[in-house]
Structures are given as structure tokens and as C-alpha cells.
Symmetry: C2
Subunit: 344 residues, 2 copies
DNA sequence: ACATCATATTTGAACGTTCATATTATTGTA
DNA sequence: TACAATAATATGAACGTTCAAATATGATGT
């Protein structure tokens, strides 16, 4: 039999298109009796409203866009996998779908927004990798495009909690602070920080957490703050300099750096038994080699992003509580004992 | 100014809707003169045909679906990231978009197919993780849904190259064979294989490659074939048994297994200098610890999957050469010297 | 019994595109 | 020049939905 449509269903039921449409979109307008009759007919016929018809009329597609960032390290790819999965699942639960797109640059990404809004009527976007002077958020705000960002708006002047747009982020600083405190409790007094060059929001935030913990414990930080590009080799190099400066433990801005640092410390300070390097992101690499690492609640972040976005898109009429527009999640420290480096 | 549509453009140009539609979809039908005139008007106005209007009429959405598999290991997540990125990029180039969806099981996935075909008019699907007795391919074939699989159809009776559906796969057996040969060349005569329990297509294929190389070199395999569930710990355990059986080198079905095996071999056979463990997938974990690994050309695979799918969807009228319906790609062996395990 | 009002349902139109067909312009041929 | 054949363009209808407005139904009060 042919696919059911509003018209075909209406005819077979002896009601009008609009009544069925109302049963689906505004049930309260329909008399309970007919509503039930229609609902069972819908179920029985397997009728599902056509996205195209809807979209044409309402100019909404129930599709959310997200950019696939160019694969750089690969080490964080697993995080993306988890993030995407959680986003997709949450979106699906709310009746939305996720559409992927590629862009070479932020400018290109904005071009894609225009294109996707224009041709595909995307309802909103999920942003990742926010940074200082992000053009994208400005453009989206200017054009009244709904979106939520994973990553707070980095700005030296504005308070992110007063931002005009929704965001969810993980408090990286709290993570490194916690990590540093753990090392202090373990008796370390000279703890280095191995992070990215100053200028990246997330990187500086993580550095600040380490610095807070050190200051709080009245420990010196001089010479213990190393800036290095991400990567295992750079991590080893940085660790070498830290050991020269007297460090006995290292907190890192990434698992890549931490992996290099761990190997180097193992070599330079073989007498130490406890884990003295703590990474960030709790990637499979960290799990594989038994490296302690700051774990981001990335699934929670994804769910909240979808919640805040869909809540906004439904105009707040989705029944659920209004999700917070700005949310800073606490990371947790995954503690491990070195694995591959010691005996198994 | 309001968004351009076929009608608004037609009016301002003094031609009919259909002429503009033809310029876009069947340029040869339009007189070169008008064609140019219309084309420049399209560019100047920034007109882009509405997906919804098109979809409603043609019942095609220019959207391809792909399932987000549940995150299991995480170690392979980076592979998925690369795969998704390449898929998205290739699809975008051909004018298609990628839609993500989640499913708990194969049966659920089939349910999603129905839903997505029905409501969103998805044009086709990309399948991953094919296995013995895969219901999904059967369903898609039965329902004439275009799709291409990453992973050959595993069957003990049928030749995959006569399969009714398109697929792209990486010749894992060739990879492990190559890896084993390398170890033989290096003088090893007792090389173990550390793989998954018999029954998974890809796993058995990789095991077969090792076996081929061993037989070809007339080396014994008795006791050197270990079946273990995926994971670092299982890898270490398996390696222990292999060393007991006299193995001096190990070829693995995954980087997780390899990582465990490498650590164990380092411990049990510390005198060896050269890399004696070879992993599979060339994940960031392998790169991070300097583990040799069989690398899948996953971007090539993704591009070909899109090529074969879009070629089919366009009915072969897309100009390009007909891509092969069944394609087995050769992996390459990424050789590394142990990194974290030795000195840096 | 009748007007009033709220509730429930229906109708016509519109969203932007392409298909199938109809019309008009152009070319070739006798 | 006329006539057919073909190329180029135009028209009406349809895809399936929701919006806005119109109509029908029922309840309430006088």
C-alpha cells in the first residue's frame, strides 16, 4: 500500500488534514475522543510526517549542524567520538538530527552556516573550539542563528557568564588545580606545569589552575611553567627542562604532553614509584599506559548543549526545566598507576 | 531584500521558473545565451535552491545516513574521527550531506533506516562494522535502499567480489602478512599472533595473513596463535603465553593488544632492541608509544565509499568514471622504534 | 427558544521545487 | 515561401505540510 500522508489518513478516517496535524502538533486542540481515534490510526498505518513538507512550510528542518574539525592530533579524536555520539543520541531523543559539515577555517565555517541555513534550513549549530576573538559567535549572534558552544567565550574583558549566547564548558582550571593539589598532598613541593603557549583560552585556564594550587600552598612557581606545542616529543623536552628546574612532578595540559613527560621522568627520576605526571582529557592513550589524567564529563556537556539548544528552539515550550544558559562542568581526576612503564 | 526563489528570480529576469530550474539541473536544454544570463543572475543574487522544495518534489534529500556506533574501546575512536571527516568532506564535494543517527543494535539500526527513509528521505547509507550474518545488508538490499559498506560482506560461502552490494574494505590479512614477513626478515623464526576469538570476519582475516606468511616461510605456528578479547591487559596476558611457547615477536590484531604485548615483551625479553610487536590500526596510541602498526588507508576508503554511493545515486550520470563496486585496499606498515619504552 | 460564547473541526492558500505537457521560436528542407 | 521538425521556453499541477481564517458544534445563560 502507498505511503500514508495527512490526506490519505484524513480520508480514511473521515476527518480533515488539519485535525490530524493538530493531533500531532497541538493535541490539546482536539477532542480527546477524536484524538485517540486519530492516534491509533496513526500508529496502525505507521504514518510519519514528511520532513520535507514540514520544512517547506515551517522553514525548520529539525536538523542541527556541527563542523568536523580537521583531524590534527588524532589523540583527541576519541573525545570527539564520545562527544558526537552523545550529541547525536541527545538530539535524537528530542526529535532532532545532526548534520555534519567540513570547513577549512572559521571564515569558511561562516560561509557554510549561510549555505546550510539557506538551502537546508538548519535550525541551529553546535560550536566547538571557541577561542579569543571568535568571529563565528559574533556572526551567529548578529544573524539570530540559534547555537550553543562547547567552550566558553574567551575574552579578557567580558564575563563569560553574561555572554549573550549559550555555552557549556569544562572547568579545566579546576581540573589542573585538583591535580596539582593531589601531588602536593603526596608530598611534592616542586611541581611543574607543561602547557601550550600563552594565548589559547583553554590552555591558559589550565595553567591558571596549577598556579592557584601552587600559590595556595605557598609553593614557588619560578621556572616551573613551561610552554610547549602539543605533542609527545615536546612533552619529553619540556619535562627535561622542568627536571633541571627541580621539578619532581608535572601537571600537563594534554595527554600528549603528559605521555612524553612521563617517559622522560621515568628516565630521569627512576627512583620514584608513584605517578608523578598528570595528563588532561583522559584519552585512551592515558588509559592504555596507565597515566593519571583529568577527565572531562564530555557526555554531560553534549547532553546539556542539546538541552539548551532544543529548549531555545522550542521557545521554552518543551515542558522541561529551562537549562542553564552558561554551564561550567567540573572535571574529575582519573587516577591510575603507571602500567606499561612498570611491570605488568 | 527577501530571499531569492525560483519565482522571484524568474520575474526579475523575465523568464520562467522552469528555465532557471533547467539552467541548474539540465543546462544543455537552455540556449547558451540565456543560460549565461541566468547563471550570472543566480550568482549575483546568491540564489540557492531550497532543499525542502526539491526534496518534496523529488523525494530525495541529498542526505546520507551513518550510524554512530556505541563507543566501546575509545582507542579506535580516532579512526572513526578520520573516517567521518573524510566521508563528510567527500560527500560535501558531491553536494551531499551526512546525517548521524544512533542505534543500540542492528535491529534498531534497521528501524532507524525505515524512519529516516520515511521522514527524512535519506538517499542512502554508509554501513560500518559488517559481520557474519549481517541483517542490515539483507534488509537494505530487499528494500532497494542504496548503500555502501565499509567492510566486506563476511560469508563462508559467498565470494565477496560477487556481492550484490557495494563495499570497500582494507585487506587486513595482507597487513598482518606484511608485518609477519618483516619480522621473519629480521630473523625471527617464532612469531606469535595475538588476535580476537575466532568468529569475527576482520579478526580471522588478520589471523589468516599471519598464518600465510608463516607457512610460506615454512615456520611452525603451533602454540603461537592466541585468542584474546581486545584490551591492553589481555594483550599482556596473551604475550606471556606466547613467550612461554617460545615466541620472540608478536603480530597483533589491534593496537590495544599490541600495547599490552609490547610492555610484557619488554619485561620478559629485555635484551631485544628492535621492535618485536606490531599492532593494527595505527592509532594515536601506537604513534604515542612508538609502536609499529598496520595502517589502514581510511581516508581513501571513505572517499571511495562516497564515490561509489553517489555514482550509484546519480544513476551513473555524474560524469566520473564508474568506481569499482568492490574494493579491497592495501594497508601499509608504519614502522616505528619504541619510544616511551626506551630512552627519549 | 435564542443569542452568546467557547470549543472543535474544516477549508483555502502557501511554502519552493520539478514533472509532464503545452506553447512559441528557430532551423532545415522541399 | 510554406511546412515540418526540432529547439527553447512557458504553464499547470503536484509533492505534504502548516498557517490563517472560516465554519460547524456544543454548552451556557437568559
Amino acid at each position: 500500500m502507498a505511503k500514508a500522508t495527512l490526506v490519505s489518513l484524513a480520508e480514511s478516517l473521515g476527518v480533515s488534514r488539519q485535525t490530524i496535524s493538530n493531533v500531532i502538533n497541538a493535541p490539546h486542540r482536539v477532542k480527546p475522543e477524536t484524538r485517540l481515534r486519530v492516534q491509533s490510526a496513526i500508529e496502525q498505518s505507521g504514518y510519519r510526517p514528511s520532513a520535507a513538507g514540514r520544512q517547506l512550510r515551517t522553514r525548520r528542518s529539525m536538523n542541527l549542524g556541527i563542523r568536523m574539525m580537521p583531524v590534527v592530533d588524532g589523540i583527541n579524536g576519541s573525545i570527539l567520538d564520545r562527544f558526537l555520539h552523545a550529541l547525536t543520541e541527545a538530539a535524537q531523543q528530542d526529535g532532532y538530527r545532526l548534520t555534519l559539515f567540513c570547513a577549512d577555517s572559521d571564515a569558511d565555517e561562516i560561509g557554510q552556516y549561510e549555505e546550510l541555513l539557506n538551502v537546508a534550513d538548519l535550525d541551529g549549530f553546535v560550536l566547538t573550539g571557541t577561542h579569543y576573538g571568535d568571529d563565528r559567535t559574533a556572526w551567529l549572534l548578529d544573524n539570530d542563528v540559534p547555537f550553543a558552544a562547547f567552550g566558553r567565550p574567551w575574552s579578557s574583558i567580558e564575563d563569560p557568564f553574561t555572554s549573550r549566547h549559550a555555552w557549556v564548558d569544562v572547568d579545566g582550571g579546576a581540573g589542573t588545580e585538583q591535580a596539582t593539589r593531589l601531588l602536593i598532598e603526596q608530598g611534592h613541593t616542586s611541581i611543574g606545569f607543561l602547557g601550550w603557549p600563552v594565548g589559547s583560552g583553554a590552555g591558559d585556564d589550565r595553567r591558571a589552575g596549577w598556579r592557584r594550587a601552587m600559590h595556595h600552598a605557598r609553593l614557588a612557581t619560578k621556572g616551573l611553567d613551561i610552554q610547549a606545542d602539543d605533542g609527545v616529543a615536546a612533552g619529553a623536552l619540556g619535562a627535561e627542562r622542568l627536571v633541571e628546574a627541580g621539578a619532581t612532578a608535572v601537571v600537563c595540559a594534554s595527554d600528549s604532553l603528559a605521555l612524553g613527560a612521563a617517559a622522560k621522568l621515568r628516565q630521569l627520576l627512576p627512583e620514584q614509584k608513584t605517578p608523578v605526571v598528570i595528563g588532561f582529557d583522559d584519552t585512551p592513550v592515558a588509559a592504555a599506559v596507565g597515566l593519571s589524567s583529568v577527565a572531562q564529563p564530555i557526555e554531560d556537556a553534549a547532553r546539556h548543549i542539546i538541552a539548551v539548544l532544543t529548549h531555545h528552539l522550542s521557545g521554552g515550550r518543551d515542558g522541561g526545566d529551562k537549562p542553564r544558559k552558561h554551564l561550567l562542568l567540573e572535571p574529575t581526576l582519573t587516577q591510575r598507576t603507571p602500567y606499561s612503564f612498570s611491570s605488568i
